[in-house]
């Protein structure tokens, strides 16, 4: 029922009242302490698409504030449907018009902060900029749901970055895997769910 309430709240937001969504989500989480969200200056320095193991990944060392929060994942799933994400990215993030979200090989990076920025800012090949209509906590919940689909990268930690810097070969296998996934993934999507033409 919680998911249903969120969806109704968000449908109201579609009438142009983005704020209407926020109380609906807030209502369902009032029992929990407020969560501190990373600020824009931090997120704006997150590079797009840095490969795992790259020293650049240092700046993506921002975990999802809702990490491990099953309620947030459920709320994110409801948003994924209510905001029509599902009809571009496919059921369960399997991909359709837009790229799949359930596998590695991200055009603009797959760490939580990179996914956040893709949702917030939009991307050139049709991804809308949801930062204009969704508040940050809802975007992080969408990120939590996307992470739950299994394709996202973990946020880099200082330890792995240091290891990468000292021993590039240590992450070579991971980078190769990422590169393979990128080429399989880039741009074009096949999925057994389809639109009708046009």
């Amino acid at each position: 029922m919680a998911a249903r309430a969120i969806r109704i709240g968000c449908i109201l937001a579609l009438a142009g009242l983005a704020a209407a969504c926020k109380p609906a989500i807030g209502d369902s989480t009032t029992a929990r302490p407020p969560i501190a969200l990373p600020g824009d200056p931090t997120l704006s320095h997150v590079p797009m698409g840095a490969p795992p193991g790259s020293p650049l990944e240092l700046s993506t060392n921002i975990p999802n504030p809702y990490e491990g929060d099953a309620v947030a994942v459920a709320q994110g799933k409801a948003l994924f449907s209510a905001m029509n994400c599902v009809y571009c990215h496919g059921s369960g993030g399997s991909g359709l018009i837009g790229p799949p979200l359930n596998a590695p090989g991200w055009r603009y990076g797959g760490t939580p902060a990179q996914i956040y920025n893709s949702i917030h800012d939009g991307r050139p090949q049709g991804m809308p900029a949801w930062g204009e209509s969704l508040p940050p906590d809802q975007i992080w919940k969408l990120v939590a749901y996307v992470e739950s689909l299994g394709g996202a990268s973990p946020p880099a930690t200082a330890k792995t970055v240091q290891a990468a810097g000292a021993q590039p070969s240590a992450t070579g296998e991971q980078a190769a895997e990422q590169s393979k996934a990128d080429s399989a993934h880039e741009g074009l999507v096949e999925a057994d769910k389809a639109n009708g033409g046009g």
Partner: protein, 639 residues
């Protein structure tokens, strides 16, 4: 057979082709200068649209009667027959077809167009980013004359429901005209490739509108539709001035009569289609404003009655529970005056379309006798699985029979034209409805059929696909999918075959013959004066078939699957060539892409001729940098 015997067998027709080249050369030079087309009878010794023994008796007006060796619009003629009178290649020699030359555009999106040939130039327009090429057919290697990069915005790629496709250009008045995925129509000077005008018709970033269809030119009107039935885009047909690109008129598919251009001259073919503002009142509230019914398919034109015919897409959202009513004029066809846009009649194939069946498929204009009476006909193989043969002057249905395996309706009520819907197959909110046939893309999608006036048959590639469908409510957010259909596809029937190539008698609504195919068949069809029909499969086979018997006479496996439209032309050397693009994509890849054995994407034009001969060559593979027969010793010369 010995090599010597082969050479003798090959030699004689080649000599005849050379003789034909000499006769035809002046005609082709004239055409290259864009002079008015002479009468077909003066053009060629091979115009051959006469019916054969055993034909159905159906015929067609092949206006504007372009030079027989040319292909100036996607359907070749206004009637949308895709019939070429060329007959150098026929049943007796088609097995000698070999690749003459190829051209790759390097673009991995679905290829759904045919190249055009005017004079000694071939024109191609690619899928996004919609690059236009002019190729010189008179020179060895078919070099590029010019290239035009229109640079449409990439945002459109993520708004097009079904891949970043383009269904090809049209040539008229010395201009090459085509649409851009991001919502523009473009006219280039066909000689230079320089833009004459560009007109923006919509903005994908704002509301998800794109354009994939091929414009048609009738008189001074360039007719352009829109795409985005999955995004809540409102369907509209726009006429642009051929000289300037300025808007002459716009006719919407939904809304009040004034917007739809329904006026005093409109005659509804059935009583339920008669009434004021049905394009608005057959919807809840103002849902018609985002009601789809986009115009992304084909336009045909009847010069005798001066009417154009264009179908409309599914109503939006795809979930019918959110739009009670017939949802006019979605999944319908309009007959309009090309000069004013005024509707003369309209008919809705699938009222309150619950399955995304659309009404965009091609309307082939033919003449034939039904019930002993000669009629002006419109043949339309709808996605909903019924083959309609209608009176094109009134919109009344004369024949409506299933051409594929369907279960959503048991038939068409001939008193009203409405389908008799099977209640078990109606879409339901939040509940899975199993095994609805056909699936959302229908028994046949946009891929156009061909008609041969020599056999009187329609030829089409069709599907044998059903779906399990679960509907979900969906909200309208501009620029995002207004969709709600969650579906899984499977093959219908017992054969396990996903595709089929059929010959259809449009006067009786019966199949003449069919060829089952393991994979989806989603290519256009070419019919020729040599009594051949050509089609492709999504697993990459290009086939030539006897138009009378359905016997496969030649097959060639190509690099990728075929979802484009084959065509044929006469080269400046007097030879007949057959051309087709590979590059599977579109909904074919969405539906079958995950299946074992489905080919990868591509983007190659293949051009075939007898023995693979091409300009300055005598046979396949003879071309060198110094022309035919010159020694190639400077390549990889040994030390």
């Amino acid at each position: 057979m010995s090599a010597g015997a082969t050479r003798r067998a090959v030699g004689s027709p080649r000599a005849r082709a050379a003789a034909a080249a000499i006769i035809l050369t002046p005609v082709l030079l004239l055409a290259g200068c864009h002079k008015p087309a002479p009468q077909a009878s003066e053009q060629t010794p091979m115009a051959s649209a006469q019916p054969l023994a055993g034909a159905t008796g159906a015929s067609a007006d092949l206006s504007p009667n372009d030079p027989p060796g040319e292909w100036r619009r996607q359907a070749r003629d206004y009637a949308n027959t895709r019939f070429s009178p060329l007959n150098q290649i026929g049943a007796a020699n088609v097995a000698r077809l070999k690749i003459a030359w190829t051209f790759s555009d390097g673009i991995p999106y679905g290829h759904e167009a045919a190249p055009l040939v005017v004079g000694s130039t071939m024109f191609l327009v690619t899928p996004f980013p919609n690059v236009a090429y002019a190729l010189d057919l008179s020179k060895p290697g078919i070099p590029i004359k010019w290239t035009y990069q229109p640079n449409p915005r990439p945002v459109a790629v993520g708004k097009a429901c079904c891949d970043a496709v383009n269904r090809g250009p049209v040539y008229a008045d010395g201009k090459l005209i085509f649409s851009l995925l991001d919502g523009e129509a473009v006219a280039l000077n066909a000689d230079t490739g320089k833009p004459v005008w560009r007109t923006r018709l919509g903005d994908p970033a704002r509301d998800g509108m794109t354009i994939t269809m091929s414009p048609l030119v009738v008189g001074k009107a360039v007719l352009v539709g829109d795409s985005g039935g999955e995004m809540g885009v409102r369907g509209v047909l726009t006429a642009l001035d051929l000289e300037t690109g300025k808007t002459l008129w716009r006719a919407y598919s939904t809304g009040p009569d004034a917007d739809v251009k329904i006026g005093p001259g409109f005659r509804a073919p059935y009583a339920w289609l008669n009434g004021k503002d049905l394009g608005a009142t057959s919807w809840p509230g103002d849902a018609w404003k985002r009601g789809g019914a986009t115009i992304w398919g084909w336009i045909s034109y009847d010069p005798a009655s001066n009417l154009i015919y264009a179908g409309t897409s599914n109503p939006s959202p795809r979930v019918p529970a959110q739009r009670p009513g017939d949802n006019l004029w979605g999944s319908a066809v309009f007959a309009r005056d090309p000069a004013t846009g005024d509707a003369k009649w309209a008919f809705q194939f699938t009222p309150h379309d619950q399955w995304d069946y659309d009404g965009v498929n091609e309307n082939v204009l033919i003449d034939g006798a039904i019930g002993g009476q000669s009629r002006k006909l419109l043949v339309h193989l709808d996605r909903n699985g019924f083959g309609y043969t209608m009176d094109r002057t009134t919109g009344q249905i004369l024949v409506a029979k299933p051409f594929g395996a369907i279960n959503w309706a048991s038939g068409i009520d001939m008193r009203t034209g409405r389908p008799i819907v099977n209640a078990d197959k109606e879409a339901k909110l939040g509940e899975k409805v199993e095994d609805i046939c056909p699936t959302h893309i229908g028994s046949k999608d946009w891929q156009p059929s061909a008609f041969s006036p020599r056999t009187g048959l329609i030829y089409a590639t069709i599907f044998n696909i059903c779906m399990d469908l679960t509907d979900h409510k969906v909200a309208y957010i501009p620029g995002t999918p207004y969709d709600g259909m969650d579906l899984q596809t499977h093959t219908g029937g017992k054969t396990g075959k996903w595709g089929e190539f059929i010959a259809w008698n449009p006067l009786t609504g019966q199949r003449a013959w069919s060829i089952p195919e393991n994979f989806m068949t989603m290519s256009g069809v070419l019919a020729t004066g040599g009594d051949l029909v050509f089609y492709g499969t999504t697993d990459g086979w290009f086939r030539a078939v006897d138009a009378r018997t359905g016997k496969v006479l030649w097959s060639q496996k190509l690099s990728s699957g075929i979802t484009s439209q084959p065509m044929t032309f006469l080269g400046p050397d007097g030879r007949q060539y057959v051309a087709v693009e590979t590059g599977v994509g579109g909904v074919a890849s969405q539906v079958m892409g995950a299946k074992n054995g489905f080919p990868s994407r591509g983007g190659d034009l293949y051009v075939f001729s007898l023995d693979g001969a091409s300009p300055n060559t005598k046979a396949a593979g003879m071309l060198t940098t110094q022309g035919a027969g010159a020694p190639a010793a400077h390549f990889n010369a040994p030390d």
